[in-house]
């Protein structure tokens, strides 16, 4: 019985790989295994069939917990065509099992994939166990009776392959079948065809001559904490988190956004949560989006906006207005590869500089980061909580690929969470002095009352010009500007008094080496730290940093900071804590592999790191 196993599905953009993968993940979950996934698809909507850059892949690591990454090297590959094989081969575990869709290995498709000769014949695959099956052919056989067009029929093959996979892993067909019926209910014939393909693939597994080669696999089941679970992606969890924040604050939410990869899935999700008092507005651009969100906050709703790096860049001027007018706002940044348009579909963590330092003037604001799909839920709530408590815009950084990555998620009980307080409007004694109430701040949070148009007797003016600390009127007074600048910094610093102390994820609380991570690198760092026994600190509050972080890190001789950028958190730690961390930078658009981190940790400990 294996502790865990890594499976990779790869084919053409048109082959329905992502759908097949997500269904396999659900079945994995229902079978009681822990898992982590990594969808990996091309930038093009539908890249030309058969090309290597058109390959769409879905990787899943499953088994006994804790599974925190999609796995370094696949143990099983299902390759729908030569291009998929070519792209995936270098990643495979030695001796991995490869299931080939053999009737896709035509001269033409080999050429398209850039194979001079057939890899099945020139020894390329010797180091692996290969199981070849005419998936295309068998699938068409299975659905022939439904009289679908050839292309329609062909599109069932992902379910045929899924059936085979489910047999391999000894899974129930029922949940997948139910899903197909829910999804394709509208078209009974197509629906039945897909179900038939699923069953055919499963049945095929039993056939004697194959099962010799095709082992049945069983892995540990997870020892997850008891409770109710679901599979969740970052976009799903963040959408639910935003809605939950609205519920906890008892305010409607207006989400204003302009589509951009990989932020759009959040917009799409939120359009489905209307009964939770969530509205969505698709603006003409990112500037209009954040401005509409600011307008909504000014009007008393919870304004939220979302984008990725290039779009966030356009929002930076308006963020300054929200800081100056002391309005709450949640700004989500799904970080992708840059600079400029860069690698839109690849993940990165390179917008930390922009989030912490990326505005004109002294314009500090709180910055958070989510570590996993499920944590997007918690961080959305935390972001809104801080925004309303301190009356400030808050930036939530999410590594782009978390949008589509899924993991099992212990479903939170929203009712059990602390309500989100906001600063009630003071009693209006109307008259001129009422206006000043808008700038009477809570001594601890430094948040001002959330006075919104429509409230009688509290009529006042605000805006982006410097305001008098007391009256809120325009002020060009030098000392007042000094005071306001210090106040704005103090307000962000004050957040540190409301957040939990930084804790260790793993390892001894002092020693020779501690790893500091943030965002989605949690997964690989967790495993690498566990294997090497070093200590591990993971940050969710980026600005301000937890008050005790400096002291905590000072107990270690060396601080190692792996990040998917060119050393941005390391800069922040030097700036705020005056320590000298060692950066481990990976900017390839790919997450860290556990092995590379383990190697690096060991090298650092031997002291022979470059």
């Amino acid at each position: 019985m294996l502790q865990s196993i890594v499976v990779r599905l790869a084919g053409d953009s048109g082959d329905g790989i992502q759908l097949m993968g997500s269904q396999f993940a659900v079945s994995t979950a229902l079978s009681g295994r822990d898992f982590a996934t990594f969808p990996d698809y091309p930038a093009e909507i539908r890249a030309p069939a058969g090309t290597t850059f058109g390959v769409s892949a879905y990787q899943i690591n499953l088994g006994g917990d804790p599974i925190t990454t999609a796995g370094d090297a696949p143990d099983v590959l299902v390759a729908f065509n030569p291009a998929a094989l070519k792209v995936s081969l270098p990643m495979l575990q030695a001796g991995a099992l490869i299931i080939l869709n053999s009737d896709s290995f035509t001269a033409r498709s080999l050429a398209k994939a850039g194979y001079e000769e057939d890899p099945r014949e020139n020894g390329t695959l010797d180091r692996f166990q290969v199981v070849a099956a005419d998936i295309g052919h068998f699938n068409l056989e299975a659905v022939k009776s439904f009289g679908l067009s050839k292309s329609e029929g062909g599109r069932c093959k992902n379910f045929w392959a899924l059936g085979l996979l489910l047999w391999m892993f000894g899974r129930e067909l029922e949940p997948v079948e139910a899903w197909i019926r829910r999804r394709l209910g509208g078209n009974p014939n197509l629906c039945d065809a897909n179900v038939a393909a699923l069953h055919a693939g499963h049945a095929f597994g039993e056939t004697a001559e194959l099962s010799a080669a095709l082992p049945q696999v069983t892995t540990d089941t997870a020892r997850l904490a008891p409770g109710e679970y679901r599979s969740v992606t970052g976009a799903e969890a963040l959408a639910l988190g935003i809605a939950a924040a609205g519920e906890l604050a008892d305010r409607p939410v207006l989400f204003c956004s302009y589509p951009i990869t990989p932020s759009s899935p959040l917009l799409h999700r939120l359009t489905r949560l209307q009964e939770l008092g969530v509205g969505t507005f698709q603006a003409e651009d990112e500037i209009a989006a954040i401005c509409a969100a600011i307008g909504a906050s000014y009007g008393g709703m919870i304004g939220v906006t979302s984008s990725s790096g290039p779009g966030i860049a356009l929002k930076t001027e308006a963020m300054g207005l929200a800081v100056s007018a002391e309005l709450p706002l949640l700004i989500v940044n799904w970080q992708r590869g840059g600079p400029s348009t860069g690698l839109p579909t690849k993940t990165e963590q390179s917008d930390l500089y922009q989030a912490v330092y990326g505005r004109n003037a002294d314009t500090p604001l709180p910055v958070l980061a989510a570590s996993s799909p499920g944590e997007c839920f918690d961080m959305a709530i935390e972001g809104v909580r801080i925004a309303l408590r301190h009356m400030t815009p808050v930036i939530l950084l999410v590594d782009g690929y978390l949008s589509n990555v899924s993991e099992p998620w212990l479903i939170p009980i929203v009712e059990a969470l602390a309500p989100i307080e906001s600063h009630a409007a003071p009693d209006a004694d109307s008259g001129p002095s009422a206006r000043m109430l808008a700038s009477q701040r809570d001594p601890d949070s430094l948040g001002r009352p959330w006075i919104t148009p429509g409230m009688p007797g509290l009529v006042h003016r605000t805006g982006g010009l410097e305001k008098d600390y007391v009256t809120g009127h325009i002020s060009y007074d030098p000392d007042n500007h000094q005071r306001m600048t210090e106040f704005r910094q103090a307000k962000v610093d004050a957040v540190a008094n409301f957040i939990p102390e930084q804790r260790l994820e793993l390892g001894p609380d002092k020693g020779d080496l501690v790893i500091v991570g943030w965002g989605s690198t949690y997964g690989p760092i967790y495993q690498a730290a566990r294997r090497t026994g070093v200590s591990f600190v993971h940050l969710r509050h980026i600005n301000p940093l937890p008050a005790n972080l400096g002291e905590l890190l000072s107990r270690f001789d060396k601080v190692l900071v792996p990040e998917m950028n060119n050393g941005q958190l390391a800069t922040l730690l030097r700036d705020k804590l005056c320590i000298q961390p060692v950066s481990v930078c990976k900017v390839s658009g790919q997450p860290f592999r556990i092995a590379e981190l383990v190697d690096r940790i060991e090298a650092e400990r031997r002291g022979d790191a470059a």
């Binding site: 679970y229 799903e236 939770l276 479903i411």
Partner: protein, 329 residues
């Protein structure tokens, strides 16, 4: 605040800081007057502006006010209107704020027909930044950034608005109290985006650019005050009128007496006519040039929101998704 408020009640305590003689003063008086006329409530009225001399406006009105950033007022006001459709939301902008950096937000606000009353103070110059030419400055305008005269063909606020799908377009002159008061009241009554261009005199950087038709003495010949359903007459004793020439597709001036029959009657719902009126240079068409109501954006937004932005379910009902499973200890 039951008893009727007066214009003075809508004047804020803030010291007004425009140049002495600026057209903005007259507009401020007209607006506070109109607010009193329509019985506006200070607490449910909001003035949102961008940046510019014009955009200083909110500070001087005793209602809620948000002086935002350059060009973005329509976008911010859209969010505000969606958040609270019961508010009377006015947007004050300038020819630079609204047509230069903010042109796109204006266009999209107009096509969406968001329930905002947009006042564009057109002085054909960037006042606050000390007098550079603007998108409405005429070709040849000499300014600090165009000492040899500007070469950019100006935008026509009316043509752009109609091209964007505006459903209300009106015009008035800063110092024309009755004319301005009229369009302000009409704008306030319109359900949707009411876009009003106000010819505003910047005495410091662009003095008298509109004198050719704002001069009181020959106003009769240079101004056409439109009223829906009434013949387009102007000139001393309404001696002149407008006729449509179907061959040239153009409006032409006729002696009203000579041809009473074919003096055109103003139909504010006719977009083709509206565009011809926008183009007119002598006389300049004032009042409501075009009005064609349609459902306002916020109305459609709430109509399409099954619960009208109310929370009718709890997250708990959504959070489990289709496939949840239980791990028992």
């Amino acid at each position: 605040m039951s008893e009727k408020l007066t214009a003075k009640d809508f004047a804020s305590s803030q010291e007004v800081r425009w140049c002495p003689g600026c057209g903005d003063y007259a507009i401020l008086k007209a607006v506070t007057g109109a607010l009193a006329d329509v019985g506006a409530h200070p607490e449910s009225t909001v003035f949102v502006s961008g940046i510019g001399c014009a955009s200083r406006f909110p500070y001087y009105v005793e209602t809620y006010g948000f002086h935002t950033i350059h060009g973005r007022a329509p976008a911010i006001a859209t969010g505000l209107k969606l958040a609270n459709p019961d508010l009377d939301v006015w947007v004050v902008t300038g020819d630079g704020d609204g047509l230069s950096i903010g042109g796109n937000h204006l266009v999209h606000t107009l096509r969406r027909n968001v329930g905002l009353k947009i006042l564009l103070f057109n002085n054909e110059i960037y006042g606050l930044t000390k007098g550079q030419y603007s998108p409405t400055s005429r070709v040849g305008t000499r300014s600090p950034s165009s000492p040899g005269g500007s070469i950019d063909t100006p935008l026509s606020p009316g043509q752009l608005a109609l091209g964007a799908g505006a459903r209300f377009f009106a015009r008035a002159i800063d110092t024309d109290k009755p004319g301005l008061g009229h369009v302000l009241r009409e704008a306030h009554a319109f359900d949707g985006t009411a876009f009003t261009e106000i010819f505003q005199n910047c005495i410091v950087y662009n003095e008298d650019v509109f004198a050719s038709f704002t001069d009181r003495k020959d106003a009769a010949d240079t101004q056409l005050h439109l009223r829906h359903g009434e013949p387009m007459l102007f000139g001393k004793d309404n001696s002149k009128g407008l006729r449509f020439n179907a061959d040239t597709f153009a409006l032409e001036v006729v002696e009203a007496a000579a041809s009473p029959g074919n003096v055109l009657v103003h139909d504010e719902t006719n977009a083709v006519l509206a565009r011809l009126l926008v183009e007119l240079e002598r006389p300049v068409a004032l009042g409501v040039l075009y009005r064609q109501p349609a459902q306002a954006f916020e109305a459609a937004f709430y109509a399409h929101h099954p619960t009208g932005m109310k929370r009718t379910k709890r997250v708990a009902e959504f959070i489990k998704g289709p496939n949840s499973w239980t791990v028992s200890s």
